[in-house]
């Protein structure tokens, strides 16, 4: 508990101290739990353009993008080491997006999984290796 409260009492404001690997999340649907995923699709791809009105609205109400910031935090923690809680946090949000109809499922798909890749720059070379693949979960278990 103290570990959680101390950063509030003595915060660190080291915003962007370094630009580390940046997570990208893709999801895939599977017919069987042990199938190999082939058709990965980006989870919540970025819009090409945001209108002024939408930008203004986002200043007051921006739940989905703030949730994405949290998902990215979970993904960054998974870069550092495995955490069941972080894996499930991301999965629950993907399941919730499926349940809400935000993502359409493939016909016959019974399972969903996701992978995290790390977009990074080393010198002038930008690479994006896959760092984590989540255990598939049944679609009917969607939260």
């Amino acid at each position: 508990m103290l570990k959680l409260i101390l950063p509030v009492l003595f915060p660190s404001w080291r915003f962007f101290s370094s630009i580390g690997p940046s997570p990208r999340i893709h999801i895939a649907f599977l017919k069987n739990e042990n199938d190999e995923a082939g058709d990965w699709q980006e989870f919540r791809p970025k819009p090409f353009k945001i209108s002024f009105a939408k930008g203004l609205l986002r200043l007051f109400h921006n739940p989905q993008w703030n949730e994405m910031l949290y998902i990215n935090t979970c993904a960054e923690r998974l870069f550092e080491g495995y955490s069941e809680m972080r894996e499930q946090e991301i999965m629950h949000r993907i399941q919730s997006a499926i349940k809400a109809g935000e993502i359409s499922t493939n016909t016959g798909a019974r399972y969903v999984t996701y992978r995290i890749s790390a977009l990074m720059r080393e010198g002038q070379v930008v690479s994006q290796p896959v760092t984590f693949i989540a255990n598939p979960v049944l679609l009917k278990d969607a939260v």
């Binding site: 508990m1 959680l4 409260i5 950063p7 509030v8 009492l9 915060p11 660190s12 404001w13 080291r14 915003f15 962007f16 101290s17 370094s18 630009i19 940046s22 997570p23 990208r24 919540r44 970025k46 819009p47 090409f48 353009k49 945001i50 930008g55 986002r58 200043l59 007051f60 109400h61 921006n62 739940p63 989905q64 993008w65 703030n66 949730e67 994405m68 910031l69 949290y70 990215n72 935090t73 993904a75 809680m85 972080r86 946090e89 629950h92 949000r93 919730s96 977009l119 990074m120 720059r121 930008v126 939260v143």
Partner: protein, 228 residues
């Protein structure tokens, strides 16, 4: 600005920021909806000035529960600042003397100034920031929910360099604005515009509202310093 006035202005701004956060939680998973409704209820009470001590204590407890729920902040530094503003305002109500009241609020003013200075300092000691490369990476690589057409700004290395140095110099110079009331007001307007730009470009809307909520305390602090 009088201390009591600054505290009340800060509470109103904080309540507004927390209402917005509560509404966002209400759109999340089930457990977050509960958190959101409690935030909303208590924040409305804070907005109207009902029993601020109990309401701020309640909000602080909910903030700590939220830290536990998410195993850390949900929204990075904005959650830390929310809890810090809440804590310092609460302390200003419950400490026995004016001296300790000023210490509690002075600490908040210090952290607000330091948030800008430290951000600038960690950038200026980093070669990637000094060259503009880091800001390029922020636009081009980071997972911030930036629209694709905004990401294109990363292609202009001169723009990145100019923006980087404007931000670094402003952040480092921020504490100097305390020397004069006019310079502080100008600095706070510029800082608010900076947070607004971050909200529009990177979707960091919570930072905008919560940093704004601490500004009245800094205005009081500066008046208090000059009075000495």
């Amino acid at each position: 600005m009088e201390l009591e006035t600054a505290v009340r202005f800060s509470e109103i701004a904080l309540a507004f920021a927390l209402i917005l956060q509560g509404l966002e939680y209400c759109r999340g998973l089930q457990s977050e909806k509960v958190l959101g409704f409690i935030f909303l209820f208590l924040s409305v009470l804070l907005l109207v000035g009902f029993q601020p001590v109990f309401v701020e204590a309640g909000l602080l407890v909910v903030s700590i529960i939220s830290l536990r729920r998410f195993q850390g902040p949900y929204n990075g530094g904005s959650d830390c600042m929310s809890a810090l503003v809440l804590l310092c305002l609460l302390l200003s109500h419950i400490v026995p003397t004016k001296f300790w009241q000023e210490i509690a609020l002075g600490y908040l003013a210090f952290q607000l100034c330091f948030s800008y200075f430290q951000s600038g300092y960690i950038k200026i000691i980093n070669a990637d920031w000094r060259s503009g490369q880091a800001l390029h990476d922020v636009f081009a690589i980071t997972a911030y929910p930036i629209s694709e057409n905004i990401r294109r700004l990363a292609h202009s290395s001169r723009l990145m360099l100019i923006m980087t140095w404007l931000v670094i110099l402003f952040e480092l110079a921020f504490p100097l604005s305390l020397l004069n009331q006019t310079t502080l007001i100008i600095a706070l307007i510029v800082a608010a515009c900076f947070h607004l730009a971050n909200a529009c470009l990177f979707g960091l809307n919570r930072f905008f509202w919560i940093w704004l909520s601490a500004y009245p305390i800094l205005l009081w602090f500066q008046a208090r310093l000059l009075a000495n």
